[in-house]
């Protein structure tokens, strides 16, 4: 019952550059560089500061160096590096962003200035390292998680310091909102500090902290006794936020990759996890993409070695000749495609050119091109229109629904519904598309012209599109189509936009059955 366009198989082999640029000379970047070198690729490691963590000799390590410009496509990037005013140009096949995070004390949140008796977490760590005994028998209060949601890495640092202090006979208080124990071994550490006599005040609102010369007072409501509780510690330790490198924003611009929440790189999208970016050949790892500890960052470094090898292989790539092709005669270099391509796969000389290595075949460019100059190998306009024609069922008693389904989500859900024999309308015909972004308004209108009673555009949920915005384009086009339908007096209920995930077979079934009911009420299409 599905109309699929036939895949084409004409392939060609191309040669790609297999050198790799790693940005960030902290432990994550060095580990990634070592792993990638181990796979037989030549790596250049750059670090903005003068300090690069010790690594293997075979890696070309440039300290005091920044990336200033990138051009080209995966397998053939040209990067310009600046080392103390000097510009170095290099060709690389892939780029790994491994910038580190830094700590920022949150004392201002608590109305505190750092002093001898108000230390940031990093300061107490350093002090404990050099002379723990100096803290002997002091009363120490930690504050964390009131103005910013904390995280397990921050808690682990606090508890580790608390344990050392307890070893020096200190009394430890921890003022905390949600205790972030979601990491291996942390719940145990939390209990160890408690069993050593540490006290946790779990509060929903921040404690009040006052400082009068050398005297500190922390006031909070005792959650058990429900009365104000005053403590005068010798020392307050303020938590630190873990923030992504300031370089990230600039790098995102230079590399044309997306930023996510809190200045991290990589959008919050499951298809990008763990280490991919929106652009093929550019990877983001460790603290560049998530708030994480060293263990998780090193896990990323090993994952990126896998991904780099998947991309670069032995320097030869086989690509489909006609995956996405620009018609030289039709292209007017308006650069619509360049702007809408979520994968940064398009560049130009005297016309737009689509890199077969970078292209993910979503077809957003083909649908957005105002000159119809772009055709997608497996999903050419003529094939799509043919598929629309073949989806028309001339039967009066059953509504004919033409459903354009994204192959990543709705089409999978439809197959699940079919496999488990969930109810599906007899007049339902699915047309598989590479991404909802490839559903032209022409296809929708044509389906009605050909006699469909109803048309459905079925995309991924917002934030789950492999091509980021394919579903948004589809939603816009449906809105446009509905406006046109309303103007001509055609029932807009005949066109629906829905979002689904691949595992929503039962939802697919109920949505199309509901559509069938709607169409039964409306009766056959007036265009039939």
């Amino acid at each position: 019952m599905n109309t699929e366009t036939k895949p084409t198989v004409e392939m060609e082999e191309i040669t790609i550059n297999t050198d790799v640029l790693v940005i960030g000379g902290g432990p994550t970047g060095v580990k990634a560089a070592a792993e990638i070198t181990d796979n037989g690729y030549k790596v250049t490691l750059i670090e903005k500061t003068d300090a690069i963590a010790a690594g293997e000799k075979s890696i070309e390590a440039l300290s005091g160096t920044c990336l200033v410009d990138t051009r080209g496509i995966p397998g053939d990037f040209t990067v310009r590096l600046e080392k103390k005013g000097e510009i170095i140009e290099q060709k690389v096949g892939a780029i790994v962003v491994a910038t580190d995070a830094y700590y920022e004390p949150l004392n201002e949140d608590y109305g505190l200035t750092l002093a001898d008796n108000v230390l940031a977490q990093s300061e107490i760590e350093a002090a404990l390292d050099s002379d723990a005994a100096a803290f002997g028998k002091k009363t120490v209060a930690f504050v964390t998680g009131f103005y910013h949601e904390s995280n397990p890495m921050a808690l682990e640092r606090i508890l580790s310091s608390a344990l050392v202090l307890q070893g020096q006979g200190c009394t430890v208080y921890v003022y905390v909102n949600n205790i972030k124990v979601a990491a291996d071994g942390l719940d145990l550490l939390y209990k160890e500090v408690r069993d050593n006599g540490g006290t946790y005040f779990k509060l929903e609102t921040p404690p009040e902290i006052t400082r009068d010369g050398a005297t500190l007072t922390v006031t909070s409501e005792d959650p058990v006794l429900r009365r104000p509780l005053e403590i005068s510690p010798d020392l307050i330790v303020v938590e630190e936020a873990i923030l992504p490198d300031d370089l990230n924003e600039g790098l995102a611009e230079i590399l044309r990759i997306h930023t996510g929440p809190q200045g991290l790189l990589q959008k919050n999208n499951v298809h990008r996890f763990p280490v991919s970016s929106n652009r093929e050949g550019i990877f983001v790892i460790g603290s560049a993409r998530q708030t994480c500890g060293l263990s998780a960052a090193l896990t990323d470094a090993e994952n990126v070695a896998l991904e780099v090898e998947n991309l670069l292989g032995d320097g030869k790539r086989t690509v489909a000749v006609d995956q996405a092709v620009v018609d030289r005669g039709k292209c007017v270099i308006c650069l619509t495609c360049y702007r809408c391509c979520p994968h940064g796969a398009i560049y130009w000389d005297n016309r737009a050119i689509i890199s077969p290595v970078a292209c993910q075949g979503c077809g957003i460019c083909a649908s957005e091109c105002p000159m119809d100059a772009i055709q997608l190998g497996d999903f050419k306009d003529e094939n799509m229109q043919k598929a629309v024609k073949e989806s028309i069922v001339a039967k009066d008693d059953e509504p004919n629904i033409v459903a354009f389904c994204c192959q990543n989500s709705a089409f999978e859900a439809a197959e699940m519904a079919a496999e488990f024999k969930m109810p599906l309308p007899a007049g339902l015909r699915m047309i598989k598309v590479p991404c909802a972004g490839k559903i032209d308004i022409d296809f929708i209108m044509n389906a009605f012209v050909e006699g469909a009673d109803g048309v459905m555009v079925m995309a991924c949920h917002a934030g789950n599109c492999k091509s980021d915005q394919g579903n948004t384009y589809a939603e816009w086009r449906v809105a446009d189509a509905r406006r046109m339908m309303a103007e001509t007096g055609f029932e807009t209920e005949r066109l629906r936009f829905v979002t689904l995930a691949s595992n929503m077979g039962s939802e697919f079934s109920s949505i199309v059955v509901e559509m069938e009911k709607t169409l039964q009420k409306l009766g056959p299409s007036p265009l039939k």
Binding site: K180, V181, Q262, H271, P274, L294, E302, L306, A418, N464
Partner: protein, 385 residues
């Protein structure tokens, strides 16, 4: 060889196959995908990044990959090392989640049998028309010779019966997070087991089986706050009038933009910082519980449905597997990794650990961990050659 066909095992197998390494997956159950394949999509008007669909996608990769041989319904009986690892398999205890045996019924009532296929159509291909595992497609070899072993045997969900005051298994309308997932996966809806109606008032109880000194489970399961909050948000979106309360000790971070997500939850859900202990059934088939509210006053909650956010506990076969493989468990009963910086290395050369076998993890973290294990195993195999 990969032991276990859950999300970690699938990811590790797929990554190795991409590097032209032939892989055998040995899975004791009758389907691939483990627990995670049974999880439902938790999108509201937008994706909440739970990763359930990633499992579906990874399963599709694996079942279509010729370099991967799947042995369903088998488990490892003995492993001996003689250059390569020699692995002997035995029939697995096929524990399908709902204890259904749907042999023969699949052609007529396939949805009732979907549970036995992990609710995924990609598992259907392992079955013959009668609904039995097809030995032609699921591997018959009773002995394998392999260069490396990835142990991805997963976890078992905490058995809620071990907290008897919740009356799980006795009261119909006390269900677990796993039950909720299966209900949503199969029917696309959440309803009360007792009357098949959509509940109006729902409670989620966090930390059931986790961070529990009395049980000796001194770990945070790391996945329950994310799944409970995302499920609650998805329910609230689908049923805007649903009144949802989350009972908790400490809310753990969910996803990459956890602050924003948590803010949203605070607006949509009621949070009560206490864990209720006793559950009673009212005459009209609701669940009643008592607790101290935020002001310290005794309060009473009556709910149509109570969802126990059960945690991740060590796999049932872990002890047996330590004997077969000659590796160690940690103090919590998960497999011991060499150290925090090499969390996929076991103490034995050529054996690597992936996913929740090593400790509690969410789907995305399991996949990254499995990628790391695959990377180590690939290095080992290449160096051995």
């Amino acid at each position: 060889m990969v032991i276990g066909g859950g999300i970690a095992g699938l990811t590790a197998a797929w990554e190795m196959a991409r590097k032209n390494i032939a892989v055998d997956i040995v899975e004791k159950a009758g389907f691939l995908g483990g627990h995670a394949i049974q999880y439902s999509c938790k999108a509201t008007d937008e994706c909440q990044q739970c990763g359930a669909c990633s499992v579906e996608a990874m399963l599709k990769n694996v079942v279509n990959e010729p370099l991967i041989t799947v042995h369903l319904g088998f488990q490892v009986e003995k492993v001996s090392k003689n250059g390569q690892f020699e692995v002997f398999l035995k029939a697995g205890d096929i524990d399908n989640p709902n204890n259904e045996n749907c042999t023969g019924a699949y052609e007529t009532a396939p949805m009732d049998c979907a549970a036995a296929r992990g609710y995924s159509r990609h598992n259907a291909k392992f079955y013959d028309k009668k609904g039995r595992l097809d030995p032609e497609k699921t591997g018959k070899a009773e002995k394998l010779a392999v260069d490396a072993i990835i142990l991805a045997s997963g976890f078992q969900p905490f058995a809620a019966e071990k907290k008897p005051t919740y009356n799980y298994g006795i009261f119909d309308n006390v269900i677990t997070g796993m039950d909720l997932e299966r209900c949503k996966r199969a029917y696309g809806e959440l309803f009360r087991p007792s009357d098949k109606r959509v509940p109006e008032k729902v409670a989620f109880i966090q930390c059931v089986g986790s961070r529990d000194e009395r049980l000796g489970n001194l770990w945070c399961s790391q996945a329950c706050c994310p799944y409970a909050l995302r499920s609650a948000e998805a329910l609230k979106y689908k049923y805007p009038d649903m009144d949802i309360t989350v009972f908790y000790m400490d809310i753990q971070n969910t996803g990459k933009d956890y602050s924003e997500f948590y803010e949203k939850c605070l607006g949509n859900l009621n949070f009560v910082r206490t864990i209720p202990v006793d559950m009673y059934k009212t005459e009209d088939d609701k669940i009643q519980t008592r607790f101290m509210d935020d002001e310290g006053n005794p309060a009473e909650g009556i709910f149509d449905l109570v969802v126990l956010s059960i945690g991740i506990t060590p796999g049932a076969d872990n002890k047996e597997l330590t004997e077969i493989l000659g590796i160690e468990l940690d103090k919590d009963g998960f497999f011991q990794a060499a150290d925090m910086l090499s969390p996929t290395m076991s103490a034995k050369e050529g054996i690597f650990i992936a996913g929740t076998a090593q400790g509690p993890k969410t789907i995305d973290v399991s996949m990254a961990h499995a990628g790391q294990a695959a990377r180590e195993a690939i290095r080992f195999v290449r160096e051995a050659k």
